[in-house]
């Protein structure tokens, strides 16, 4: 047996682990030190120039109104609440935009692979045009179209009874609030959960027995049935708050503003073009052998697409599409150009009225970072859920 050569004990500053730790500690100290220096210097400078600092202004009265809000807000509310209104407006347009852009993007992406010459040309024309014109110009385009071509609010076009379209937006009736409504919403959510559960069971049964259980009707029943029952039980309230024209514009009912509409249209059409490219690329990346094998098994083209091609394409499509979602959310900050009160718009107004630039910008960055990271996390979870499971 050979005894291991005994090494002379290393002095601790020669120890590699120790050195690495030391370098990191020094780097960290430098970063913290620099940060602290900048912050204290900034504070001193701001103070010297008597520019107000601190986040105290968030609880002070904002004094300005905001055009649209999904929570009650008026000029006597605080800056903090104004920010919440801005964040909600950003989320509203982003989330709706993401859903619609996905739908259109998938359709157009598949259209580009269609065997119909005209469909392919139209889809390519759309993608190439929209991708190559700056989004800001597209927003101005939509806004000008809507506010320029629609009739003025006094000559609003009546689309359906109680539904009007004009330069002031789309006005439509809203149900008069009723005590039954919250319960309807609650059972709707429960119904969605049940439908999800049912779907899982149906799939397991199909795997176990080969039978294909009915899916659509039972799910619809589970989702829509309970709210309907609650609605009937609470006395079937049908009262509608119909918009009526007063001196200047409509009062009552619900409305979608031209600002929201233009922003949504611009964001959705722009992002959908990129998603369409992702989808096309994803589908084309699935090896030909896969569709040939599916055909050999006797699957119809649509079934093969749904069961064989798309699930594989999805794995390729998800990561770039996630960044399109993030882009859409960040691009919604162009809203300010066409008068939609998103987070940037509210933050800019607060910045100007309170004069606290650093605070307002930090809040804005913090919020965008949080939303972005949340979208990333959700998409990563989804990505992992659909990842190839090797059996």
């Amino acid at each position: 047996m050979v005894s291991p050569t005994t090494l002379a004990p290393v002095v601790f500053w020669r120890n590699q682990r120790f050195r690495l730790a030391l370098y990191q500690a020094v780097a960290l100290l430098l970063v913290i030190g620099a940060g602290a220096y900048f912050v204290s210097n900034a504070l001193a400078n701001l103070d010297e120039r008597s520019i107000r600092t601190g986040f105290g202004f968030l609880s002070r009265e904002a004094g300005f109104r905001i055009g649209e809000s999904i929570i009650p807000y008026d000029a006597s509310n605080s800056y903090g609440r104004a920010y919440v209104v801005g964040v909600l407006n950003t989320l509203r347009v982003s989330l709706l935009g993401i859903v619609l852009a996905t739908l259109i993007g998938v359709l157009v992406g598949m259209a580009r692979l269609s065997s119909n010459w005209l469909v392919v040309r139209l889809a390519s024309l759309y993608v190439e045009t929209v991708r190559n014109v700056p989004l800001l110009l597209q927003l101005f385009f939509w806004y000008t179209v809507i506010t320029g071509l629609l009739p003025s609010v006094r000559q609003a076009t009546q689309l359906l009874p109680g539904v009007y379209l004009s330069k002031s937006g789309l006005m439509f009736p809203a149900p008069v609030p009723h005590p039954g409504h919250p319960y309807m919403a609650a059972v709707f959510v429960i119904g969605c959960g049940l439908a999800w559960g049912y779907r899982g069971r149906a799939r397991r049964r199909q795997e176990a027995t080969g039978q294909v259980p009915k899916l659509l009707l039972p799910s619809l029943g589970l989702i829509l049935g309970p709210p309907l029952v609650v609605w009937l039980v609470s006395g079937a309230p049908t009262a509608l708050d119909v918009p009526v024209f007063t001196r200047f514009t409509f009062r009552g009912g619900n409305s979608i503003t031209p600002e929201f509409l233009s922003l949504l249209a611009g964001l959705v059409l722009y992002t959908a073009a990129f998603i369409a490219e992702n989808v096309r690329g994803g589908i084309q990346a699935v090896p030909r052998g896969q569709s040939e094998a599916a055909a050999a098994l006797g699957l119809r083209r649509t079934t093969a697409l749904r069961l064989v091609i798309l699930p594989q394409a999805l794995r390729i499509v998800i990561p770039p599409t996630t960044s399109q979602y993030l882009n859409l959310m960040k691009n919604s900050s162009l809203a300010v150009a066409i008068g939609y009160p998103d987070l940037v718009s509210v933050a800019n107004t607060s910045l100007n009225q309170s004069g606290q630039a650093i605070e307002c910008i930090s809040i804005m960055m913090g919020v965008y970072l949080t939303i972005s990271l949340s979208i990333s996390v959700v998409m990563n979870v989804y990505d992992r859920a659909i990842a190839l499971v090797e059996r």
């Binding site: 010297e48 800001l136 200047f248 100007n352």
Partner: protein, 354 residues
């Protein structure tokens, strides 16, 4: 040397957004890194650069608007010309930097401009908490409302329920909320960041009402509305909007120059010194005129300038009354009320130059 001119309008929208963030970024960097200002710093920089950087509005007829050749006219632009003439001896040595209401304070704080001369209202918040100081008043204004004539509106008190186009970052949007709140009325603001877009939206019929300073309303009617007779400005004035030049805090020497430039132009009007007769007035026996024109005393030197500072300014743009008549009368605002000299019952009053 010709004045360097930046017309942001032509640079396009994207640039405007870019420049806002560049501007904010500079503001940050300056605030984070810079040392503190000291007296005389701005004057030294202006002299070294041989140009006054003047923040003006992006295009408001009568106050600051660039023509197709990039030449700026208007009361605010002329004030900068007077200042450049007083400090550098040449009224053309001005770099005009067009700024939206939203950009203006950051641009000044960041040192991108030496002063703002762009219909900016003097308020306590701005004077005390933005690191800026107001140097005087060059125009007494107030906020008004404008509506299409065919709506048949006679008074602002009828505006309950209307949609109102307004610019963000202004006192206008605050006064608007106050006024409707005080009168128990409701309205829906449609808020824009650029004058151009807000005016287009109003003229397109997106809003039934446009509100801003009355001078702004007159300017819009004079230069933007295709048919000015289709609109009326309602009689109510809902606020006080004293507009005047603003400088950064911390440089008292520059602040003093900017302040006394306003007074010198008013004093010249009071004493009947005009662009045409200023040369002849150098022989005046009136001691007040002598001190103003630097033929006796050393008023200019006390400001760190040449004693001919006021003469140079008056030669460049004339006295306050001439500036007003040349720029503001044409947009349909006669010189009435507060904007007259104190000797005519107005508020234009120069502190004694002695």
């Amino acid at each position: 040397m010709n004045s360097t001119i930046r017309t942001d309008i032509q640079e396009g929208i994207a640039m405007r957004n870019m420049s806002r963030y560049v501007c904010l970024f500079i503001a940050f960097t300056v605030v984070v890194l810079a040392g503190t200002a000291h007296a005389g710093e701005v004057l030294d920089a202006v002299v070294a650069r041989d140009s006054v950087r003047c923040g003006v509005s992006t295009g408001l007829a009568g106050f600051a608007i660039a023509d197709s050749t990039g030449n700026w006219t208007g009361l605010d632009a002329d004030y900068c010309r007077a200042l450049a003439a007083a400090v550098l001896g040449d009224g053309a040595k001005v770099t005009y930097v067009p700024l939206s209401p939203q950009q203006r304070f950051t641009a000044l704080q960041a040192g991108e401009v030496d002063l703002l001369s762009r219909n900016t209202t003097w308020t306590l918040t701005r004077d005390a908490s933005l690191g800026l100081v107001f140097a005087g008043v060059t125009f007494y204004d107030g906020q008004g409302f404008m509506v299409p004539k065919d709506l048949g509106v006679q008074s602002a008190e009828e505006l309950d329920g209307a949609e109102v186009c307004v610019l963000t970052g202004t006192t206008t949007e605050l006064n608007l909320a106050d006024y409707f709140r005080a009168n128990g009325m409701n309205f829906k603001p449609v808020v824009f960041e650029s004058l151009e877009e807000s005016v287009t939206a109003f003229l397109n019929g997106r809003c039934q009402v446009y509100t801003t300073d009355r001078s702004g309303l007159a300017a819009i009617l004079a230069s933007d509305a295709p048919n000015p007779d289709d609109y009326v400005i309602l009689p109510e004035t809902i606020s006080k909007e004293p507009l005047g030049p603003v400088v950064r805090r911390g440089d008292d020497a520059w602040f003093t120059i900017v302040k006394w430039m306003v007074y010198a132009l008013i004093e010249a009007e009071e004493k009947g010194v005009t662009q045409a007769n200023v040369a002849a007035m150098m022989d005046s026996q009136d001691p007040v005129i002598q001190r103003l024109l630097g033929t006796s005393g050393d008023m200019g030197q006390k400001l760190g300038l040449s004693n001919a500072w006021a003469v140079q300014a008056i030669q460049a743009v004339g006295n306050y009354g001439e500036i007003y008549d040349r720029n503001v009368i044409p947009i349909g605002l006669p010189r009435v009320g507060s904007n007259r000299l104190w000797t005519n019952g107005g508020l234009m009053y120069a502190m004694p130059l002695r």
